[in-house]
């Protein structure tokens, strides 16, 4: 996996407005960016785990119909 670049205020503002639909003003975006960078560094540790053949804990389960017959 290639190296991630540090997150910027502009990226946070764009993701919030264009992806999430929760636009932020510049001051809030700056605050989120500052809080987000250490979280992303922490999360990166998950990408380094031996997860190759492991499926997510949330597994799809089809809904079943009750049959009376």
């Amino acid at each position: 996996m290639s190296e991630r670049e540090p997150v910027t205020t502009a990226t946070v503002a764009a993701v919030a407005a264009q992806n999430a639909g929760h636009p932020l003003d510049a001051e809030r975006a700056a605050g989120i960016a500052e809080a987000l960078e250490p979280i992303l560094k922490l999360i990166a540790s998950l990408r380094e785990l031996p997860l190759k053949d492991i499926e997510p804990a949330a597994v799809f389960r089809p809904e079943q119909v009750d049959h009376n017959d």
Binding site: H22, I32, I39, I43, L51, I54
Partner: protein, 469 residues
Amino acid sequence: MTDLALMSVSELAPLIENRSLSPVEVTAACIARIATLNARLNAFVTLDDTAALAAARIAEAEITRGDYRGPLHGVPVAHKDLYATAGMRTTGGSRVLADNIPTEDATVVARLKQAGMITLGKTNTHEFAYGPTNEVSLFGSVRNPWNTERISGGSSGGSGAAVAAGLVPIASGSDTGGSIRIPSSCCGLTGLKPTYGRVSRAGILPLCWTMDHAGPLARCALDAAMFLGAVAGADPRDDASAADPVPDYVAQLSGNIEGLRIGVPRNVFFDRADEAVVGCVDEALGVLEQLGAVLVPVDIPYIEQAGAAAMVMYLAEATAYHDDTLNERADRYSEQVRMFLELGDQILAKDYLHAQRYRTLLGKTFVGVFETVDVLATPATPITATPIGCTSTAINGIEDSVFGALLRNTEPFNLTGLPAVVAPCGFDRDGMPVSLQLAGPAFAEGRVLNVVHAYQQATQWHAQRPVLA
């Protein structure tokens, strides 16, 4: 007679059953104590004394005519303000739901009413259960009865403070990263997070669907077992509800732990805990050893990543749940919770799924550990209750965030869904409670509660009460 409000459920029950004590007397004693102490603690946020006394009179009449329902009959209970209570305000500690009055009870509330318990009111919570300190709430911070300048721990902090201060004998809580066990640890109580699916979440405001659990904050393991027996079991209103049969948890409390193998994972759980906390927990382990248990050093691989995985889960799932409200009423959230929700917008789907894959990995790791030991013992929280407003703390000279430290030892059992119980085992140099955590394999609630019960038969830490003149 001992102050009624300070008695445990298991002390009250036989007196109520043999009619030497009326549910009305107990309920009135709790109401009187709330009137005297709640302003200092901010534990209760809604109290319906008229309805509670009416329910107590009904319970009294039922018991008098011989219709005794069991050991919870006529005993008062309080519910975290995250639980839906029909006709009674349920805010989640947030301005977003300041005027919310549900029309239906949460399953846990309904089952406890069925068991004859008297609903006193609702207890304070960290806003939407999104924080382990209980400093942020529509109603203000909860204060710890052992030192009102300290946090109660959260997010079920109102329940913790209320039970510890003798405002109510037992209360409900919810636990997504430790929110039953952290306030129990900070306030000197016995708090149980059952196996995921063991107790219905229906009617409880979600924080993170895949990690939310419901359970009690109690004064001893026996009380927690009684509560669990009344609320556990399948519920068609909760898709995650387990169909496994519900055993008699009280009958499982033999107090015999002879030969029980207790795994002691020093990595992360102990080596990043305050030395005063570790000292008390090691003394407790010595007591368990004297009672016949065998201590086994174990190592939990991959545990270092638990905090990162839990954070991804909270951020992604909580933001998904609050998506619409964040769009329409963002200004009604506290600044702290609003920021957490906005941070959730920035999480990538692949990172959420890596975290879910990590949960599978960690679950398999614990299965391996429980092939060699019967239970695990750790400090409940690596630190004791911190001063209100304090965001960082030093653990053995190393700076750590209060949030991260409080959650570190409890979160792994939310990620894996395994049952865990905490119980007081001493005090630190400032007189704040220190607690031990016992965790077991899935659906081994009886086993972990029995270890605590054995410990509580041999010690008196659980019987200590804060002085609140």
